[in-house]
């Protein structure tokens, strides 16, 4: 049948069969739409994918434009990496949790650091009071890092570290632990988040102003391309942008706009796009709307491939491949009837797998209440294992491709994200758009709309604004012992007494001189790390030279 016939037949169905049914039984809503305001039609047909060219727009797995996945065999070769984000209290306690997760079949580590570590303060800094060990593990020096990975061979695991402003220091500590284990840096696998732009826009753990932060980032790109070639030097993150309230389209647009800014900064610093491009990685959210999410992942892959090839002239196909980690959406979890969260996480994880993610964190059911307990984390990991081993969805590549709906939606998300990126380009790129508050304002607007939809009842959240029950709050929640702060301060005191003060001083002075000049800072940071300089000392030196970022508050 040709398209003309189809168009006629579709029109006949729409006004006839469908129209009559609607007249008798009106649909649940006047207009159906996804998070980004894209209208969801009652039916998708070949007419909706007319402008899609299979070879140009979809292609084959492992080939440009990577819509169907970055690997030729995808999960037929190997499942995604099951990587639960974990870390709390001390290095000893987190080390025990990592070993537990590895015993339970987890295949990669993901380190959560506490806020003082993420913002470059030692545990005994006055601003650290009350925060030590709370949202992650407290790391003050190489000594803590040695404990954190004690008994975990770093040539056998891949480790992701959620660390941004002080990413150089934590990467240097990881390299130094590996040295002590006899593992050379070129055998290390892992990722540092190292994405400062989304910290300014959505997550908040910035230290230095943008220019100096971009220098730290490009220093890492350069250092790793020569010394730690298998390391993912950045994880350009939409996750937190989405958690802050963005829509699916905004998540893709703002993340790739940040990516563009990093690529530009590195090229401006004299690097070749294909020297660092293959080590860029991404991090996305998996939210509730299953099909919108699958389409989002596919759209992001295609758009990035086109940007890297056409805008930056990348030649290495690895530079064009958008590889990404996914975490299910923490902001969708409810404190009410928390066991229901297991079901939400299952659907979100399914979206990530159908969207061909490279690694996945599944949230635990109790995360709207506290840090996850060990039982909850195990269920979250089992959720991934059930999808992998029992559901069959991993047995063929990109299984939803060719669905009229998925392809039309993939196309529309790509278009709308590209339009946003163009607007950001016109403002002067992501750093300028963040400085002006454009990106923050867009996210806030979406967050407020979402909340108002819940409060008006237009958006139903099961157990929250409908289907409520009287219930007791669950017991057995994990609580970090407040004594962790004191313990960590004592460890710091001992360390300062024990280490060779002169070597520390000399290494910090060298770091300062390098920061004032234009050397790559990584070798200097490594020297300071090896001398057991604390994180606060190293970040403090750079605070003195670089200054600190002061956001302009929009309110």
């Amino acid at each position: 049948m040709n398209q003309g016939d189809l168009k006629g037949e579709y029109g006949r169905w729409k006004s006839g069969t469908y129209g009559k049914a609607c007249a008798r039984f009106p649909e649940r809503r006047e207009r159906f739409e996804g998070s980004s305001g894209i209208e969801v039609k009652p039916l998708y047909t070949p007419l909706d994918v007319e402008r899609i060219d299979y070879l140009d727009d979809l292609g084959f797995p492992g080939e440009y434009p990577y819509t169907r996945g970055v690997q030729p065999t995808m999960y037929r070769g190997r499942f995604w990496t099951m990587r639960q984000y974990a870390g709390f209290a001390t290095a000893e306690e987190s080390n025990r949790r990592y070993k537990y997760l590895l015993e339970q079949g987890q295949t990669g580590l993901s380190v959560a650091f506490d806020l003082p570590t993420q913002i470059g303060y030692d545990s005994d800094h006055e601003l650290s009071a009350g925060e030590v060990g709370k949202v992650g593990v407290a790391i003050d020096s190489l000594a803590d890092m040695e404990t954190l990975f004690d008994g975990i061979p770093l040539n056998k695991v891949s480790t992701s570290m959620t660390i941004n402003a002080p990413a150089s220091m934590l990467l240097a500590m990881y390299i130094a632990v590996a040295e002590k284990q006899g593992v050379p840096a070129d055998k290390l696998n892992g990722t540092i988040q190292n994405d400062i732009l989304k910290e300014y826009a959505a997550r908040g753990t910035y230290i230095y102003p943008p220019k100096q932060s971009m220098r730290l980032i490009t220093n890492i790109f350069e250092y790793c391309s020569k010394n730690v070639p298998r390391w993912n030097t950045i994880s350009i993150s939409g996750y937190h942008i989405r958690e802050a309230g963005a829509t699916a389209v905004q998540e893709v647009a703002f993340t790739l706009a940040d990516g563009i800014a990093y690529v530009k900064a590195a090229i401006d610093a004299g690097l070749d796009v294909d020297d660092f491009g293959p080590r860029l990685s991404f991090f996305f959210n998996a939210h509730n709307d299953l099909f919108e999410e699958v389409a989002k992942f596919r759209a992001a892959r295609r758009l990035w491939a086109r940007i890297m090839r056409d805008r930056f002239g990348a030649k290495d196909r690895k530079s064009m491949q958008l590889r990404f980690h996914t975490q299910t959406a923490g902001c969708t979890l409810t404190a009410q009837q928390p066991d229901n969260n297991i079901v939400r996480v299952t659907l979100q994880a399914l979206a990530a797998v159908l969207g061909s993610t490279q690694s996945l964190h599944t949230n635990s059911r109790d995360e709207a209440l506290a840090l996850p307990s060990q039982d909850s984390v195990r269920i979250a990991l089992r959720t991934q294992q059930i999808i992998a081993y029992e559901s069959g969805v991993a047995d063929t590549v990109d299984p939803l491709a060719g669905s009229y709906y998925i392809e039309a939606l993939t196309d529309e998300i790509e278009q709308k994200a590209a339009d946003y990126i163009q607007r950001i380009d016109e403002i002067g790129g992501a750093p300028a758009a963040i400085e002006r508050g454009f990106i923050q304002a867009e996210i806030e607007e979406s967050a407020y709309r979402y909340q108002m939809e819940i409060e008006s009842g237009q958006r139903k959240i099961v157990g929250l604004n409908d289907f409520q029950i009287e219930e007791e709050r669950p017991s057995g929640l994990l609580k970090v012992d407040p004594a962790v702060g004191d313990l960590q301060c004592r460890k710091l005191e001992e360390l300062r007494a024990k280490r060779d003060g002169a070597t520390v001083e000399a290494s910090l002075a060298a770091l300062k001189r390098a920061a004032e000049g234009s050397d790559n800072l990584m070798p200097h940071i490594l020297d300071a790390v090896r001398a057991y300089a604390t994180l606060g000392e190293m970040c403090g030196v750079l605070r003195d030279v670089f200054g600190e970022y002061k956001p302009t508050v929009a309110y």
Binding site: L115, E131, R203, G204, A335, E444, Y448, Q451, Y555
Partner: protein
Amino acid sequence: MMDEGRKIRVLVAKPGLDGHDRGAKVVARALRDAGMEVIYTGLRQTPEQIVAAAIQEDVDVVAMSILSGAHNYLFPRVTQLLRERGADDVLVVGGGIIPDEDIPGLQECGIAAVFTPGTSTGDTVKFIRENIKR
């Protein structure tokens, strides 16, 4: 009771190092839409900074948000400093990921209400209107 015609003034504050401000910003906007005057401090405020801002801006309410677990340390510091500065007629409320078992202790320290995940902004507005102290 409130003077007729004077808008309720609220300081929405993020104490500590926590960067999660989606909730704080949504609440700030909802309070504003409900006719209150709202000042948002931005991230990473010390209790001293929050209290200084509250006094300088002559607010009726301080509404704090923490999702990092540092509430037991930071919330009571704010109420203590307000008392020391003679500003204990300011209504102080808090929100965030706060375990039920911590709530009675926080209330004893002068946090009038703790709003946990799932609270509607309408409930927060209502509580503030009904409990304002000056």
